[in-house]
Symmetry: D3
Subunit: 327 residues, 6 copies
């Protein structure tokens, strides 16, 4: 990476040739660490950060340790995408801006904290790549990013996460974020596609509300039948050229590939398929992304966090290219 | 699930909306718990029960904890099959009737106990869905279910389990159940198909006895070459319209998908293939089923037990539909 | 256990001689399972139940799986205390009355649910033995049990749990229950003793509020210096003859003995000391007890849950004897 | 170890200075491997062997992998006892003579196989040090060693293992070996002492049979009260100068020190106490020993197997010295 | 395996019918154990040995325990390849000749020790099948095997391992063996094909040196696009009829199938594909092979070691057939 | 911590009240992160850093991940020592200065890198607290700190680490650092005391060289017999008032308390004893310290790393007080 302009040269990952990958401070992609004020002052092009929050989880907890786990495994990411040739650090100033200071004992308070953390970044024109935490964290992210006009969404997941409420009235769980976002007008359901949905149902009409809003749900069995290229084509046409967010739930993968998650469903994507799918989003007008639901306590060999880190790198490549096109 | 008749309303799983899935007593599918006498008195339509027995295991033990592990993970099963639309609790009274009181120090005694436990259920016309335990437990189940006339068998497994004896004369191990069942006249080898068989051989003619009986062995390599739709078609034609049992050994899956088992063989099914295969048995005249060889001590993330629970739910859907057709 | 009156004969644990300890439904101490309405109708003498809640945890989660883990390991408990000779099932009707239907996404809602679950039991004169969950669950328990007059407390723990708030205002966490209980007037601080407290401090005066209320704090180093007999004597004199609650936090033990907990502090009790300490409470006027903070995901061999189950059995012996004395 | 006679020089452990301890074939203490025929032909002085059998286990299995686990960890044992100065390989020809070819599916058959394996060794005057396996394996060992006259026994364990039967008549489980041995007249109960016994009881008189035979039971609480020196003194006086066997069950240790076992009881020995206790047996007329109940699948860090290997080395020192005295 | 000539009869694996697979000394494939001098004296046809060395690893360590882990899991291998019908022990005298006595604190010293260990075997015409250890161990193997004329190479891996140096000058790491071997003239780059390469790059031209030497790199994405049959065809044509070595890095598999490795890359082979690929090498003029990078500490269920053992058996079949053709 | 001077206010740990302990970047004690140049420029009072190196390990590896593991668990450390009242951040500017950029494939190179990293810190008068890594890392630390005059040493360990060489000549392993340091004249053997030494011996005179130099070796059995207060008194008198280094090997603890280490020896310290011992060093003229041999891959619940972090905090308290006295 010779001859980078100074602005970018300062934001290169620590090389595994200089410091072994198991050593040194574990930041996302081994990038420099800034606080959000410094990130805004810079301003960065892309900010990576963690949202270590799992208090909206309805089954096994542990995703509060997701950012830590993904930071560790992201040390294995190098500089250049070997398939697409993309190299985000050549064109964008990227950094790890730390974790949202969550309140694990209060869901509502934490949602406010996430918005408070993210708003200045977005306000400064910085693209955000968030690492969860459980899937509820996408809701406040969409509230900030879709504040002025609702965004489109590529949602890769085993679950639709559009349930109304749990436990007799709990409106804010990791099973409800997209319903809340649509109700708030920050997510455009007609530009939303959900890919990989599967698993037994509470009721036959469980997903009717989502369908009624205009969400396109591509169940895993449909994905298999259509084939990934067709699925990618359909997803691209749904979101079109408008600003689009990508939310990647690690439980979209089969638990063989991603055992470390709280609500697994068998029959999911392989990691090869997941990579193919994400790479297929190249060229879209992406304005933000997240990787959620990695639970390190259930991941004895660290492979789930490695999948999360690799998907995050692929998303980073997409976000950097999208910024380049918009510039 | 509104407007169910009272007989069925009493046998609905505890909802994850009322009690979180990690909470409450861990029964199969969160169904009510009855003892076998109550089950017979009712009578239930389908009885789920555990056979926590691994004393016939020739390699690593641990499947005695299989029923406990599958009960826990089965809390993730909901009410409706998202692919087939089947909903067994709408048409059948199902319950968890507990565990067979095995004697871990005595194989022969335990076989008797299994028969004693199962016979009244079968006698009352209740369909059984058993959760092992090692694969020897299928032998006494077949002895009860095939008592009057030998049943056909869909046997999904990495191993043929038709060896004559181990260790210089041990006739009752988890490698011998189907040979014993055929010798006893309770299993019809000409209506038996084994799918997914693989792994190195003791001798080139190791499976000759099984072939001589008329068993159709579809090795994994044949399955791959033929494709699953053709395999399903052949299996269906082999068992035909007669009463048929399904025995699902979790080691039919590749250890990537089911690491928690005592005698794994690499090169097995993915969970997507396993689901496709089981769903392909829809419409057969199924009279009982089991899921065996899940060993939780070798399953640190619980995914093998989740596969077991999901396959058990799929089998439950099939058994409920078969009862409906017979009624 | 011959010649028990019928009322008690119905509430005996399932024998490990009849059903192996790894088999059968996992209820606390292998006792019969009742719902709370049935428990009240009976009425039971002592109700065991779980509070699978960890959403007030400030560090690593996992205690929501504590009731499940302790239920499994409690299968190893038999009928008679080999040291004291106590046999609770000879004198008290005991049962597992299930889990409180918590709302993991809402701390305040859950506290209400706990009170709603426990109030009828206490109202019916049933003694409660609760299994957490994180330590905040003791707060609503004390609110019910101390509703009419504040109770005394033997609190065995590494932490005082009398902090005012966390994270800039969170009043309801597992570090605050006893402060809240004192503020509510349901816990008598002058009859409260905390044993085993240790670990680094946020500030030198961190425990001043607790001391100001009159709580006696016996730090671990004091316990070692004084010796356990003297500690027991002092604890007994502090709570005196009045109604007293025992709250046992598993992190009072050294993590060598109880690794499966979210906020461990090294330098704690051995399990022998813990048993000696609890047995030393014999003869007190105990009106309820709990065991909290067992986190099975951090407990690979199950020993922490075994400690929890054994301490729960010791507490059950004490509670049964106390009922006997009051009767 | 210079100037050893050729007979001994051939039976020295492979040095960790020549081959790292994690490398090379894992034999007990890194000793040469012989089959039993060669051992008898030699004849060896002391034979170490494994009995990989857990089919008589009443709770969690896994001790069938005990010999493998202890072999691996025994690579950490060096040549000289740093406390006693004993060095067994200077005076005795020791070797690993392999594993008994057990039949995991048949308890009775296996007991015969153990006797068949051991009898020629004992017949050739070789002292045996056996590594289990569950505790039932001690029964056939005593049948061979006590064949001509009943032996005395130092039995270190959490459990008395003198139950009559389990599961409605099972006479051969890991809870019954010493009762069977006494009935067979191969174990002298009046020269038997059990140390460390603890845990809840099935019934108040559970141990009455053992006491009636004259066995001295030193419960853990008695051990603590008396102190280990007095316990050792009493044990030595009970067995006296006659031939004595030592059976060491790893669950005599607290599960903090030995989590990898199937039936743990909290409140047990520390490893320092266990070492002190075993070293206190120096000078007795020991004729054989075993270490049992190590279950590697429950021992994620390998420490239980390390305790087993270290205790085995201490026993080996004792056995070698006893042979020296008898010679 | 009746009627084998005596020379072969002595080198048959211990049958799982005689000694259960979890029992007995863990040698590769349960073969007899010889030291290298005896192997040369015999001489064997094929020698299996371990190289327990991971001191050239740039990320997570643990492969020094690979030979031990693979020895254990190789107990599951039987005698006959169920797909190809190959049975190496019918035609070749095979044995486990132990481990190279490595020096874990010195890479250069160890490389010499490996050569010293292997040279007499190769000199005696024995084919070697080595089990690592990290991938650097292939370098000294090639130095011995390619000493007289450079060999061709089928290299199945996620990484090209042709980097020049790490950490500012370290020339000998597990990322450099094939560059060193080419520089030494023992590996023919024009007869070298690398299959399955993938993962992010340090720089766009990272693999230019390898390509410049004439190595054919088949990235995973190319493999998927071409299909395995075409890949096999191309690989075969590259190495042609000349002497060819096969080096199999376990991280060529996806971490779902082989989590136990230090430098995983997602998106890899399934175990079915790996088996298909290795079987596709049948008929080549193979003169040696290895399986490397299995790290048991990261492999909680043992499945990675099982993959390693199974691939080793497949390679053994190929090596035996190749010897047969050359004879 | 009100009214701290600005120089210290900038070096306070991130509070667990502001950011939950599982969140935020994992630095030692949650201190600010500086590079060494900035540390020297400041200059800091005390620098904490990691040496992620395990290539000199003779048994199981994994301590290269020790700094990462201890950083994570050190988040549980707060500000004030609850026993001594010490509060290092009130008097000393402390920071995490990162990891030494080790070369895992070259021991000699790495020793130079450690010296290069540490020399400027020591040259600037900064006290160092190093976190290993294996025990060889203490050797270069002593070479820098004892450069001008040899230091005294309190060495708490299971092993003496004064062996001459391993594997036929390897002089630089984790079993040799103190011999090398004495040979280099940077460690004063007459002011060196080793506490807790135990375990089997290679030879009876294995420790003669150390004794000949004048090292005082307090074996664990001596420590038990004398009692810790007497041991502390003796240790203090040996090192006297001169500059003294403390090297704490985590394997000094019993593996029950610290399972995550590569060369465990049973019969070690409890964590209570370890804390008592370290606190007993208060008032000595300490000039540096380290905590070594924590191996997270062998530490499934994180308790070993927690012990390491807590001991590091206790040492930090001692180092800060010693600086205060010298100032």
């Amino acid at each position: 990476m010779t001859d980078l302009p100074p602005r970018l040269a300062r934001f290169q990952p620590l090389s595994g040739m200089a410091m072994p990958r198991f050593a040194g401070l574990a930041s996302f992609m081994r990038l420099p660490v800034l606080d959000t004020a410094a990130a805004v002052a810079e301003p960065l092009d892309i900010a990576l950060f963690g949202i270590p929050f799992d208090s909206a989880t309805t089954n096994r907890p542990g995703t509060r340790l997701g950012p830590r786990g993904i930071r560790e495994q992201s040390a294995l990411m190098r500089l250049v995408n070997h398939v697409t040739g993309a190299s985000p650090y050549e064109t964008c100033a990227c950094a790890d801006v730390g974790d949202v200071p969550v309140n694990p004992a209060d869901v509502v308070d934490t949602l406010g904290r996430i918005e408070t953390f993210v708003a200045p970044l977005v306000g400064a024109g910085i693209t955000t790549l968030a690492i969860g935490g459980d899937h509820l964290v996408t809701y406040p992210l969409l509230r900030v990013i879709g504040r002025n006009s609702p965004v489109g969404l590529i949602h890769i997941d085993a679950h639709s996460d559009t349930t109304d409420s749990y436990f007799g009235g709990a409106k804010l769980t990791h099973g409800t974020p997209f319903r809340r976002a649509i109700e708030d007008g920050v997510l455009d359901p007609t530009r939303t596609v959900q890919i990989g949905i599967r698993g037994t149902l509470y009721a036959r009409d469980e997903r009717q509300w989502a369908l009624d809003q205009g969400i396109r749900i591509l169940e895993m069995e449909t994905v298999i039948a259509q084939g990934l290229p067709a699925v990618i084509e359909e997803a691209r046409s749904i979101v079109g050229a408008g600003p689009t967010y990508v939310s990647f739930d690690i439980d979209s993968l089969d638990p063989a590939f991603a055992p470390g998650t709280g609500t697994p469903e068998i029959g999911g994507f392989t990691s090869r398929e997941a990579l193919f799918l994400v790479r297929g989003l190249r060229g879209l007008n992406l304005v933000g992304a997240d990787v959620v639901e990695v639970a390190p306590p259930l991941d004895p060999s660290g492979t789930t966090a490695l999948v999360g880190a690799t998907i995050a790198f692929e998303l980073l490549c997409l976000l950097a290219e999208a910024r380049g096109r918009r510039a």
